[in-house]
Structures are given as structure tokens and as C-alpha cells.
Symmetry: C2
Subunit: 150 residues, 2 copies
DNA sequence: ATAAACCTTGGAGCATGCTCCAAAGTCAAG
DNA sequence: CTTGACTTTGGAGCATGCTCCAAGGTTTAT
């Protein structure tokens, strides 16, 4: 009594989600996912929806979210009103952070495109003005409030 | 004989770069930055350009670059032909990764905006279709090549 | 009924990137 | 010339997110 189209073992889930078995078990330990059942012998069995859940987690990880932040968003997925405390603030802050990151990445992309165009001539690379000055306040993280100069 | 407008101590540099002294020393240990001089008593003294260098590093860190990747880009800054080996490939790959990340973040932003509009009514949140289905192939990391299903 | 392929738990180990500390020396202001 | 703020080195410790392993049980194909 085991794997069927709607009961994946951890290995099958790993293959479909492109995460390792170990990572899936690790995510279980920290509370991000649980098998929907166990076989008689104790094997974890997952519903097919677990594949989407893990891809959601993987995507957010690749975008720089911590497992803790992902857990908060999964609180919505799980309709867990408890984990949704202050979720509004969280979402607003995250959206703002994502917007800032998009802006910065866009400027970084331009720098990289500039560098790319100068390759493969190292001399030309060295002449890149942004790199040369290492200063472009439109791109770089700035001081923001709180900075005091002596 | 010490701090002047063009000879910052580590504390002043930390304040201006918004990194801690400890972090700056750590970056020195791993080769990202070096003081341009030392005082008689052994204090690190930095040229003002160090502020930009550290802001460059901080920005790239915040965008998800590893210290190792940052070191490669600093190889260009330092006109170090040695560290520039294969830099063209590196830049191309990075530019592509940055582009992909911008795309994904843009879609994520849309999800977050949707969720934000549904706040603060938890019921409405739970009704978010993307969250509900946890599937949006336009946004989610996908399988790509290499995935085999049994 | 046996082998190959899979799974279990528990715990150790590791890479990255900091962060903190103690004991001691340096510096600038009054 | 003392005091208090600052700095030094070296090393330990820590948070995150995996990753690997051993010893053993389960499944399934033959």
C-alpha cells in the first residue's frame, strides 16, 4: 500500500519539486510542509499539491526570502488566522522592499550590460566609468536617515 | 598623527558606510578591502574612496551577491587582470540571472499588491486566487530541463 | 523469498556571513 | 598627564539553511 498518482513518496516529490529529499525533510522539521499521510511502514506520503507548495517555497527562497518569511505567507495559504497576525504590515513592507530591489537590480543590470559590451577587452572594462568612479548615487545603497558624520 | 578629512579611522568609515567596524574588519580578512595606511600606533586609516567601495559592497550584498562574487567585480575596480580571468562569462551569466530575478520579482510584486488590496480582511486574503491555487506558472520557478517524472 | 531500491530517525557537520569578546595599546581633549 | 573614547589582535560563537551519514526497516520486482 504505497505510492499512487495521488500519493507521492518523498523521492518522487523531490524529483518533481527539484529539491532534495533532505531538504524536504528539513522543511518539515521547521514546519513548512507535512506529509498528508504515512504508509503502514512509516513512509511519508504526499498529495500532489505538495509539488506546488514546494515550488512556491523554492521560488521565494531564490528571490531571497527567509524560511521564516515564507512561513508567514504560507499562513495565508493554510488559512491559519493565527499566523496571519500583522500580515498586512508584513505584506506592505515586503512589497516595498521588492519594489526597491527591482529598482536596484534594474540599475545593476545596466551596469552589467555596459560591462558586457566592453568585454572581452580588459582595457575597455577598466575604462567603465561607473566602475571607475565606483560611485553612482542613483544605483548605490545610500546613507538614508540615521547616519551621523562626526 | 591621525584622522583627517582624508584619513578615516575605522569608526568613521563604519559610520559613513553604515557597516559595523567588525564587518569592515571581516571584509578585510576575506580580502575585499584594505586600509590605505596605518597610524603609528597601528590604527587602520582609510582614504575617502573606501566609503564608496563599502557602499558598493553593501549594495551588492543586499541584492544577493556573495562576497566571492563581489570580489570578482572588485577585480575590475582594482584593475587586477588576474582576478578578471573569465570575467566575461561571469558578467554575462550574472546579467542573465539578474534579468530573471527582475522578472520574478515583478510578478511577486503583483501578488503582494493583490494581497495588499485584500487586507485587512482576512477572509478576502484567503480568497486570493494565486494563493488559493498556489500555482501560477508565469511566476513560479519551473521545472526546467533535467526533471524526470517516473 | 530475496535483492535492489527506497525509506526511516537522529544527529553531526558544513558554508556563509557575520557578531561578540577579552586583554591590551593609542589618541585627543581638557 | 590623565581620562575616556577609540582602536588592536585573535579567536570563539552564532544564525541560517542546508547536507551527509549510519544503522536499520519497507517495498517491490523477479
Amino acid at each position: 500500500m504505497n505510492e499512487t498518482p495521488d500519493r507521492l513518496t518523498i523521492g518522487a516529490l523531490a524529483a518533481q519539486s527539484r529539491l532534495s529529499r533532505e531538504t524536504i525533510r528539513y522543511y518539515e522539521r521547521v514546519g513548512l510542509i507535512r506529509p498528508s499521510a504515512r504508509s503502514e511502514g512509516g513512509y511519508r506520503l504526499y498529495a500532489p499539491g505538495a509539488v506546488d507548495r514546494l515550488r512556491f517555497i523554492r521560488t521565494l527562497r531564490e528571490l531571497g526570502f527567509t524560511l521564516n518569511e515564507i512561513d508567514r505567507l504560507l499562513g495565508i495559504v493554510d488559512r491559519d488566522a493565527g499566523r496571519c497576525a500583522d500580515i498586512g504590515d508584513f505584506i506592505r513592507d515586503k512589497r516595498a522592499a521588492v519594489e526597491r530591489q527591482i529598482e536596484r537590480l534594474t540599475r545593476l543590470k545596466e551596469l552589467l550590460l555596459d560591462l558586457e559590451a566592453r568585454c572581452p577587452h580588459v582595457e575597455a572594462l577598466f575604462a567603465c566609468p561607473i566602475i571607475d568612479r565606483l560611485a553612482d548615487e542613483r544605483w548605490m545603497a545610500d546613507a538614508e536617515e540615521g547616519e551621523r558624520r562626526d
